[in-house]
């Protein structure tokens, strides 16, 4: 109960946003496409927050975040489909299963690879991401349902505004509390100086692993929501560029800044999808010429993220 009381203002804000969205969805003010994008924004924010915990707060460079997103997506979709429990009653369990599977895999590979630092950790996670991609491409050898490189089709559409919104808001609040807890303090210490943290008695290996597992859990949950929103999964949805997408959101929002991640996620997805709507059909291909240019300019203008003018 304390959990809810302490974040009363945020809860009210979230409720207000929900009511506005629900009304505009119910009265068909926005098209179905925009509804889908809106739900997708929450999913992206959730996954990017996971990366923010790992990289922004704890300083563990990861270039393979999309792999855990994919593991969550495939796990929950596979479980839902093979068990036949494709209904709203069991959906929360399927989401949880996706998150837990991602967390389990993160735990297993985190123990060895989190010993690496900086770019080496980045390369190792990038390698792991590509390994997962290869695995998904060949997954039809394990089970026909997974579809391999043809893609996983026919997933029930269970993700709606309510589930995506409240799962995301709930987990963001949990994350916020985590960050301000003792563990969050240890994480931030490790980011500033790992050796000094170890010397004052922080179990750095354990704390890094904890942050990594928790961040990947969020990615897995986001993946499960994604699978049941778009009803189709393909290994290429979870490749290196998707990992970079999450990284861009974390950097634009500012490292170690949850509110920043929310704004940046909204802006990034809104901008990419918005261009698709705004640009006339004959130059819509130019979108991906402008987006990288914008990214380069943004990095020059605000190298510490959109919200921060200078370091500190």
């Amino acid at each position: 109960m304390r959990f809810f009381l302490e974040s009363k203002k945020l809860m009210l804000l979230a409720l207000g946003i929900y009511v506005i969205l629900r009304l505009s969805f119910s009265f068909d003010i926005v098209s179905e496409y925009i509804e889908q994008i809106t739900i997708y924004v929450f999913i992206v924010i959730l996954a990017a927050t996971g990366l923010n915990v790992i990289y922004g707060y704890t300083g563990q460079f990861s270039l393979g975040h999309a792999a855990f997103y994919g593991i969550g997506a495939y796990t929950s979709a596979y479980l839902a489909k093979t068990s036949g429990l494709e209904n709203f009653l069991f959906f929360p369990a399927m989401i949880l299963a996706g998150g837990l599977m991602a967390a389990l895999v993160a735990y297993i590979i985190g123990i060895p690879i989190l010993r690496l630092r900086d770019d080496f950790l980045g390369i190792a996670t990038l390698g792991f991401g590509i390994l997962v991609r290869v695995f998904l491409d060949n997954s039809d050898r394990i089970s026909e349902t997974l579809g391999g490189s043809r893609g996983f089709t026919g997933i029930a559409r269970l993700t709606n505004l309510e589930i995506a919104f409240f799962v995301t808001v709930f987990l963001l609040l949990v994350t916020r509390n985590f960050i301000s807890s003792r563990y969050g303090l240890f994480w931030r210490c490790i980011k500033e100086d790992e050796t000094a943290s170890a010397s004052i008695g922080i179990d750095t290996a354990r704390m890094k692993l904890m942050a990594f597992v928790y961040g990947c859990f969020l990615a897995g949950v986001a993946g499960a929501l994604y699978a049941h929103l778009y009803t189709f999964l393909h290994p290429s949805n979870f490749d290196f560029l998707r990992s970079i997408d999450f990284l861009i959101i974390v950097i634009l929002g500012g490292m170690g800044n949850i509110a920043g991640t929310i704004y940046a996620g909204l802006l990034w997805v809104g901008f990419i999808e918005g261009l698709r709507i705004v640009l006339p059909a004959n130059i819509v291909d130019l979108r991906w010429v402008f987006i990288p240019l914008l990214l380069i300019v943004l990095m020059m203008w605000r190298p510490y993220g959109l919200m921060t003018k200078k370091k500190g």
Binding site: F120, G127, I244, M300
Partner: protein
């Protein structure tokens, strides 16, 4: 015996691919050594090299040796511009912003080149500059063969490597490069022009990648604007395998990556070939994070 010949043939094919990876990996390793930047756009410079060579051969019918020099000049220039326009303003920014910028440059090059009015997003057949010939050898019943394409690739990669060694270890510029990669601030205090040294590093790396692009086009005559992505990532892996910042490490790493990729395609399944490299990478990183030849003090 037949099995042995088949393995030998696959190893030679692997070395051919590995030599191209090695040329790309050299640029990665040099830039990383000097700026600590994973230059994701380096794979796209390789793509650019293949396309420049394609136009020079098919439109202008240029002889092959001139194609090499012209392509290297064009890619060196693009490497120079890339550094000056996109990376230099961020010299004092956090390294992660630089990395995101590199991704931005990479995406820009790919999608800009894929426009219908530039290179188009289609696969394009690379013209054969000369007829392919196969040389057969059978010392003591053990048969193996290689083609003139492979001979060309090995000869050019080897000579590029020798020239690069001379540049880095026998010239004043090379000494400046090593000094900057060792300690940028102190190097600046010793009167080394950091900007020029960084530019030179980018240009040399881009020229080598351009050369790799030409050789790749000759050996695997299908080119596409997105062809640089996977070779780029694999070459960076190769540089890490060999020990980042070490020239011969990048070459050996490239050859290991090329050979294991081809062997896995031949004996297991080509769908697993991307996976095996990363398994090797993870093992090497866990056993020796600084790479096969890595020592802390031995950078570029």
């Amino acid at each position: 015996m037949e099995q042995a010949s088949y393995i030998a043939a696959q190893v030679i094919n692997g070395l051919q691919l590995g030599a191209v990876y090695a040329l790309i990996a050299l640029g990665y390793t040099m830039v990383y050594g000097i700026l600590r930047l994973i230059n994701f756009a380096h794979g796209d410079i390789f793509m650019l090299g293949a396309f420049v060579a394609y136009f020079l051969i098919s439109r202008f019918g240029m002889p092959l040796y001139l194609v090499f020099f012209a392509t290297m000049a064009v890619t060196a220039l693009s490497g120079y511009l890339m550094e000056k326009i996109a990376y230099k303003p961020l010299r004092n920014a956090p390294r992660i912003s630089l990395l995101i910028t590199a991704v931005g440059v990479s995406l820009f090059l790919e999608y800009f080149c894929s426009l219908r009015s530039i290179f188009t997003p289609d696969y394009i057949g690379f013209p054969r500059p000369f007829e392919m010939e196969t040389y057969n050898f059978s010392p003591g019943g053990f048969e193996f063969s290689f083609t003139n394409v492979q001979a060309l690739i090995f000869a050019i990669t080897f000579s590029a490597l020798v020239l690069l060694y001379l540049l880095v270890y026998r010239t004043k510029q090379g000494r400046a490069m090593r000094a900057v990669s060792y300690d940028q601030e102190t190097a600046a205090l010793m009167g080394i022009n950091i900007d020029n040294t960084v530019s030179l590093t980018f240009m040399v790396g881009a020229a080598l990648a351009g050369m790799g692009g030409v050789l790749y086009g000759i050996a695997y005559p299908q080119i596409n604007v997105f062809m640089g992505i996977m070779p780029g990532i694999k070459s960076f892996i190769a540089a890490v395998l060999g020990g980042i910042g070490i020239i011969h490490g990048a070459v050996i790493g490239g050859l290991i990556v090329g050979v294991s990729e081809v062997i896995v395609s031949a004996f297991l399944s080509s769908t697993y070939r991307d996976g095996v490299i990363f398994v090797i990478l993870l093992i090497v990183l866990l056993v020796k994070p600084s790479g096969i030849f890595g020592k802390r003090s031995d950078k570029v």
